[in-house]
Symmetry: C3
């Protein structure tokens, strides 16, 4: 009902008119940027060009306060097949190999450092660096027919960097299975392993993602950004260091405008009027 | 049957006669201290007074060897609604804001540093710092109708410190969902995410917690304390450092009285006679 | 079908002819070393001798490229009952106590540092250091009647070192339950907690483990070793350090022979011909 009300004001426009990416299509509707991997003929492989376009689509105007959430989706049955192995052939040279993995880290960092939540909407097969990309998103909603794998070793390239992402998202006993056997796990197994946030029938995927996005949009953008940055900072600290920094973060949060507005609106039993700044 | 035998010797007395807290009620029975958040009109909010009384109730006589376990429970449908937002209004001043979060960290530390296991018994809604409180307990038993949320961003205050606790207790994909959407998760989802230890029908909650407590009480208090301290110390170390320290801890454990008594009782096929010292 | 084809070439020979361990029996078949704890009368307890023989069986010829996977199994209903408490009695002396835990760490390190994946095949009860042993394996496949516990505190010796392993393999709320109550968890609970990789009926245990092993054997040994070493290295680093090191590891992987062969075989749409070096 709430979503229906919002829809009245919705606009859905391709936003990157000055650049037509052949790898990525992007729309922005009511503050939600949906970035779609759109290169089925390479199974949405993370070529250098694809990674550049994705990173740019995530980072563009990232500090514009009208941007409230990013949804990462893909066209076709393969969400992404991971790195483009042709770019890793011996003939392409060491410097290019380095560049591929620097770009991949940059892409992952763009997600983690994005001021807004990034949600993977998966309806298909996410594999190798494609699985890393999904696992790096803040939240992951997938259809019940989706699959996930890290099969790099089948092609002589162990999924070491994808292992960084999945090793932090699921139990060791499951991450090692994916990495050493290269076998896919089902959406159900991915849910049971904590890799994904929500598992739904394919026809409810958009609705589930929209519900998450609408919940995010009810909040102050500034507060979400502050909270996201702190979450990823503290998770690498030991417990007492995390609390020490956490206390400062809470005090800081309270004393920004939207912190005080939130408290006032609660005390006055009214809706908050966020500045988002 | 075993519990029934023990019951013969049970006594259930309010222990804090010198101080009547209006926030917390406490009973101590056969070595089990049950601390009940008892301020329904504020939804058991973690006001400065509530936090002080809770911390004091956890720490009081903590080195008394007759104390064997602490159960944290709550009166009413809301286990705890988290911080009292009125105490975080601008008018209360920066020093009070700092104090609130220092007190909260102190409360969390009192649980982690308690020499005995602390078990949350949840039958209701644990939210924001109330969810942090629950997640910080060593074990969490909840009824199947309980719920958990970290909705601070709804009120302009991101649940950054609760995120420290839940980010270490459940997969990233689930913690971020709670933090960014503010939506509650069900008891079933909390179990599937590893946040809770056991999930039972409400009418079996006491029984389940009692079974855990009775198992703890069969052991040496000294040994449980040593083990608890080491567990939280090692979890922040890297693997090889943890093993290095772990070896020393095992040798130390063996050579305390109850270590040797435990081994003797095993070899002699008899019940151990613990000194608890 | 694939496995059936391989079976034609199989040989199953006891490999340690020069040393007949009374604790451990070992066979090697088609690159799979199965090491079986074989001392039912002590419930496969991890005595100093047992630990020495296990460590030696894991480490022997570990750099022989024909060795591709290690399976750790046990004879009898008890996978392993953990340390031999008789060796920890006061009369045995402090130096022996130290030795016991040094040997245990050495055994755990032999698994983590083994160049090939180590898979626990559990059909029974793994307890205390026996549970630690299982949890330390890269993957754990268990029958649905298996059980797991860390009951050391029952005998005055808290399972501090087993807690290092299980505390890194399952949620805090579950590890603490095992450590503080000493109660066993079922195979189903172990699966739900992420401790085990796969849960199958007992009569499918061999088949499930074989399928994992066959998948590993399709890959380059060198690549699996590189990937395993990196996985355990990065998991103790913070995220950005891990990615920094990960980039280097990927570039290194691509430029070893089997990295390039893998990519070539992919581009040329043919099976890879691994050197394993």
């Amino acid at each position: 009902m709430f979503a229906a009300t919002l829809t009245k004001y919705s606009r859905s426009l391709p936003i990157f008119t000055r650049k037509n990416s052949q790898y990525v299509s992007t729309t922005e509707t009511n503050g939600t940027r949906e970035i779609t991997l759109n290169h089925e003929k390479t199974k949405n492989s993370l070529s250098l060009d694809m990674m550049s376009d994705l990173t740019e689509a995530i980072n563009r105007n990232k500090d514009d306060i009208t941007l409230r959430a990013i949804v990462l989706s893909a066209k076709g049955n393969v969400f992404s097949a991971g790195h483009n192995l042709k770019e890793l052939q011996s003939s392409t040279g060491l410097e290019q190999h380095k560049l591929v993995f620097q770009k991949a880290t940059e892409l992952m960092k763009s997600i983690i450092q994005s001021p807004v939540p990034v949600i993977a909407k998966v309806n298909g097969f996410a594999t190798a660096a494609g699985c890393q990309l999904v696992a790096t998103c803040d939240m992951i909603v997938c259809s019940d027919t989706s699959k996930f794998s890290t099969p790099g070793a089948n092609f002589g390239i162990f999924c070491s960097t994808p292992g960084i992402a999945i090793g932090r998202c699921m139990p060791k006993s499951r991450a090692t299975y994916m990495l050493f056997t290269g076998e896919p796990i089902t959406a159900r197994e991915a849910y049971e392993s904590g890799l994904v946030t929500k598992l739904v029938p394919a026809d409810q995927l958009d609705r589930e993602v929209n519900e998450i996005v609408e919940k995010i949009k009810l909040k102050s953008r500034r507060v979400i950004t502050l909270g996201k940055q702190f979450f990823y900072k503290q998770i690498d600290l030991d417990l007492l260091e995390a609390y020490k920094l956490g206390e400062d973060t809470m005090v800081q949060n309270i004393n920004i405008d939207d912190g005080q507005e939130g408290i006032r609106s609660f005390v006055e039993k009214r809706n908050a009027n966020w500045s988002h700044k």
